[in-house]
Structures are given as C-alpha cells and as structure tokens.
Amino acid sequence: MGVLTTIEHFGAFIIETTERWGRSWIFLFRSMVALIRPPYRPYLYFSQILQIGVNSTLVIALIGLFTGAVLAVQGEYTLSKFGANAYTGPAVALSLIRELGPVLTALMVIGRAGSAVTAELGIMRITEQIDALRSMAVDPIKYLMAPRLFAGVIAMPLLCGIFNVVGIFGGYVVAVGLLGLSAGTFMSQIESAVALVDIYSGFIKATVFGLIFGWVSCYKGYTCGFGAQGVNKATTQSVVTASVAVLIVDYFLTSVLTRVFMK
C-alpha cells in the first residue's frame, strides 16, 4: 500500500510537472504568434519598452559603473602579479561584454521589472481584469503578454549595451585615474583584444535573457493563484525561476557561442 502510494505520488508529480511545462511552452508559443497577428497596438509596445527598458536605465548604468570599477581594481591586482597590468583594459572589457554585461543586466531587470510585471498581471488576474478582457473579446495574451515579451527582447540588449559602455567607463576611471595606468594603453589594448564576435555573443545572450524575462514574468503573473498570497508566491517564483534560468542558460549559451564564433 505504502509503495503504491509513493508510486502514485511520483506519477502525479511527473504528470503535473509535464503539464506545467507544456502549458508554459504553449503560452510562449501563443505570445509569439500574437506578436505577428493583427490588430497591432504599437502604443502598448512603446509603453512597455518605456516601463521595462527606459525606466531601468539609471539602475543599470549605476550597477554597470561600479561593476566596471571593481573589475578594474581586481583585474589590476591579479594581472600585476604577472607583470601584465597593461591588460587591465581588455580584462574589464571582455568580462563585461562577454559575460557580466548580459548576466547582470538580466538579473537587475528581472529584479526590478520582472517582479513588477508578475505582480501587475497577478493583481489583474485576481481582480478579474483578465477575465474582463476576455469577456470583451480582447485576447489577454495579445493585449498584455505579447507587448511585455517584445519589450523584454528589445530592451535587454539595449540595456546591456549601456551597461557595457558605462562599465568600461567605470573601469577606465579607476584604472587610469586611481591606479595610474596609461589611458592610451587601457584603450588601445581594449581595441586590439575585443573582437566583433565578442559583442555579437553578448548581445545574443542578452536577447535570449530578454525572452526568458518576458516569458517567465508574464507566465507566472498570468497563472497566479488566489489572493494576496497567490500574487506574493507568483512574484517570488517569477524572480527566482527567471534568475536561475538565466544563469543555467548562460552556461549553455557560452559553451555554444564560444564553439561557434571562436572556430
């Protein structure tokens, strides 16, 4: 009896997990189809780019500035042990462009805007606003989800670009202004070490992370449970799931992109 119950519970868990995955993929598919089907509502897309992208600019720039600064300090300290502190510039730039820029931008946007998107959609769900949309023959996937997904995919690489530029500036200020490196060396080493493929791969990552951000935050809000506790749970799950997904996908993307572009 006990064994049977355990097997039953395990079976139920597998079915439930598979269903949940299936539903979330169908949700993503429907959101992407909704992007290309009329009617198009450009004002909704611009409004979401404003909320998710433009309104995140300041915090992204601030984090970028200090990340670049700390990379310069750490890079100069490590490289000076090998007499290679002239390469502090490339160390800062490549770390930012290839890895830290896309990942930290994604984590910051997920924390700032992802939680807000999930909470907003969750509240719309529990206050019947999403039901109201459907009752008015307006598809909530098209009206609410598609613009947020689109905004994530568009805004994330742009924010990542800002993060990288400000980060390199932060590294420059610390390395040249405080640690006494030559400005010419710092910039010329970056110029010779950073290739276009490094920038491509960073932007590809940021675009994929934008998709993950939009997908997870919208899906968690749309399928939110009942009451304030449901919104609370959905928001927490949204931030945790999207952040973990970004870090896992980052590993696989880095492996693939390195093999593809470095050959």
Binding site: P39, R41, M124, T127, E128, Q129, D131, A132, R134, S135, M136, A137, V138, D139, I141, Y143
Partner: protein, 249 residues
C-alpha cells in the same frame, strides 16, 4: 438566446455543477440564486467561455460556445456579450473615460474621435460625467459598478451577464444598481442573466428565477412561483433560516 444544456463541471474531486440546464428567452432576464459556493459564478464563467465544462453545451444566440475551439472563435461569440463583474473589474491603470471607451477602441476598432461622443452619451445617461477623468480607485464602489455597467453596455450587447450586483454596496447603492439594470433593460432591451444570493431584492430585475443548490437547479419559475414554492430548501433560503436542508459550510 442563452441555452445551457446539461452542464457538468468539477475541480479535482469537488463536483461543482451536475447536469445544469437553463434557457433564457430573448429580451428576458433570469436570476440564478443560491447560497455562496454552489457554483453560480462558475456557471457564469462557463457561459462566457472563460471556463470549459466537462460535459454539456452552452449556446449564445444559437452559437455553440463549448464547441468553439480557439480563443478567436470564442471571441466571435463573446462580441454579443456585456458583463458586469462582481467587483466591476475595471482596469485600474486607465481612467474611467478610458475604461468606458475600452471596448469601442479595442473590440470594435473605433477611432478615438468616433468613440468620444459615444462615451460622453453613455456617461451622461449613467450620471458618470463628473468622474470621467478619475481613476477607479478614486471613486466609490457604487460608481465603479455604474462604470462597469457603462463599459458592458457601450457596445450595445444582446446579452448582459451580471455577477453579484450588490456585493460591497450599502442598501441605497444596491438599490441604485437594480434601478440601473432595470433602466438599462428598458433602454437597450438586452437578454439578462443575473447571479445573486440576495433575495428578494434580485426579483425586481428578474422575469424568471432559478435556484441552484449542490450543483443542480432545484427550482425555477417566476419570482412569484419561487416565493410560493414548497421546497424546504427554497423556503429556508428565501427566509434566511439556518435550520433546514441547506447546511452552512
């Protein structure tokens, strides 16, 4: 106009509706009454096509909502519906003006200019003109209900579905909502379904009343017929007694 045929719905092991059948003639209003938690709101969501029944069919104006496989097909049927939700379900990021104009812009596809005069007319007829630039949280629940009614009626639907019109309202505001439903019925002549647990107040907007209990309709008729019913559950519910076949959960 609305035909619910032998509907079954369960959530996990909990049976909510068990063989519910209900017909509403064009231009008439039926109230579905019953204690809390018996599946009245689920029935409404099944009629709106927001939930799918396990068995049975829902027809609106002769079109089978249950057989509509895609959201697009369901939306075609929903175009004949207007819904007043229990909490009004107004979009809190939009002003009252934009809430009323929403269906015209997003569903009908009217330009802002063409929608404008219709919104002003509707706002005037429901005494909402002073509140048009407010947001929903800045006005009372009574006004929100009126806005919900305006939003539901602005596209001149053939069917109006109303979920618990009096929830959260004081007796005066509650009476005002009933008066509003009657006035709108006379003006626009829609077919109505009102979900409520408030008796006998809901009788004033109903041509017929159906009482639902344990997932099934146990009594149906005109308000007078329901009042005269000898069914002990109906009498217990009408008189608000705690002793009787209906057990308080």
């Amino acid at each position: 106009m609305i035909s619910v045929r032998n509907i079954y719905k369960r959530f996990g092991s909990q049976v909510v509706l068990e063989g519910v059948t209900l017909d509403i003639e064009p231009g008439k209003t039926t109230a579905v009454v019953g204690p809390s938690g018996v599946g009245k709101s689920v029935l409404l969501k099944l009629i709106m096509g927001i939930m799918t029944p396990d068995r049975g069919e829902v027809y609106i104006g002769g079109e089978n909502m249950t057989a509509a496989r895609t959201e697009r097909a369901r939306n075609d049927i929903r175009r004949s519906l207007g819904v007043l939700f229990q909490s009004a379900a107004l979009f809190d990021s939009l002003t009252i003006y934009d809430n009323i104009a929403f269906s015209l812009r997003e569903r009908v596809g009217l330009s802002a200019t063409k929608a404008h005069s219709k919104v002003l007319d509707m706002a005037a007829s429901l005494s909402l003109t002073p509140y048009l630039q407010n947001f929903p949280e800045q006005v009372s629940i009574g006004i929100r209900k009126r806005v919900g009614m305006a939003r539901a009626l602005i596209t001149e639907p053939k069917v109006l579905l109303v979920d618990e019109p009096n929830t959260g309202l004081d007796p005066l505001d509650g009476q005002e909502v009933y008066d509003l439903i009657n006035a709108c019925k006379n003006q626009w002549g829609f077919t109505g379904l009102v979900i409520s647990h408030e008796l006998p107040e809901v009788f004033q907007v109903s041509d017929r009343v159906a009482m639902i209990l344990k997932g099934a309709i146990i009594a149906e008729g005109t308000p007078a017929e329901l009042t005269a019913s000898q069914d002990p559950a109906v009498q217990q519910f009408l008189n608000g007694r705690t002793d009787g076949p209906i057990k308080i959960q």
